[in-house]
Subunit: 137 residues, 2 copies
């Protein structure tokens, strides 16, 4: 049996975050000690590790809840899990593309300023006028 602090240290998830996950229904309310403190089993520790890793990979709480439900039914087909992961991947790719458009626009803007006064600053001018931009964002 582990205290909340112990599983926090072992998984790298902070104590208030663990309580938050419980509230959000990611983890079941665990057993309690006589003095009402949370006591976790090894299985619960591992589940929290799963959640941590999924969060580190950028999955949302909702997506993780669905994945945990699937994980509890090992004989079901995994198509749903694969779909969640693929959708997340597509989402990440979109974000990368958007950020790359911003990156190219911003690096052009930053390079174009020859550091004079605000009145002549290309950064300021570019912000005032989207038509100076190369593409959309």
């Amino acid at each position: 049996m582990f205290s909340i602090g112990q599983i926090a240290r072992r998984t790298g998830v902070k104590v208030p975050t663990i309580r938050y996950y419980e509230q959000m229904g990611l983890i079941e309310a665990p057993e309690r000690s006589q003095g009402n403190q949370r006591r976790y089993s090894k299985a619960e520790l591992e589940q929290l590790g799963f959640i941590k890793h999924a969060r580190d990979l950028g999955l949302s709480i909702d997506a993780i809840r669905d994945l945990l439900r699937l994980n509890a039914h090992p004989e079901m087909p995994c198509a749903e899990a694969d779909r969640i992961a693929s959708e997340h991947l597509a989402n990440i790719r979109e974000r990368i593309e958007r950020l790359q458009r911003l990156e190219s626009e911003l690096s052009r803007i930053v390079k174009s300023c020859n550091a004079g006064t605000v009145k002549d600053c290309y950064v300021i001018r570019a912000l005032s006028d989207h038509s100076l931009c190369r593409d959309e964002h």
Copy 2:
């Protein structure tokens, strides 16, 4: 003189967002009509366009506030504006790198599942075990 709805349509910034920007100190409280409705000048319309463009480029409210203050002092050196833009660019580059690491990890994971049952699903296994990952995230 423009109503809030008119500048919303012209700039593409939604009405509640304009009020929010006012509350956040990005734009001054404008004149009011006899019936207490906001009335904007052309200069204020343009300033909102500046804000919209800066937001579209991903700048934070705080950064935009600073840029607007600089914009009001055309004779000052623009080093500060350039610094804000460069910092933001660096920040975007970091986010791109992080997302690219996630992308490569996730695309590997998604590709590795041969769509069987949950018990054998590589997506689920990879989430349970970070040591299956190629790099950190």
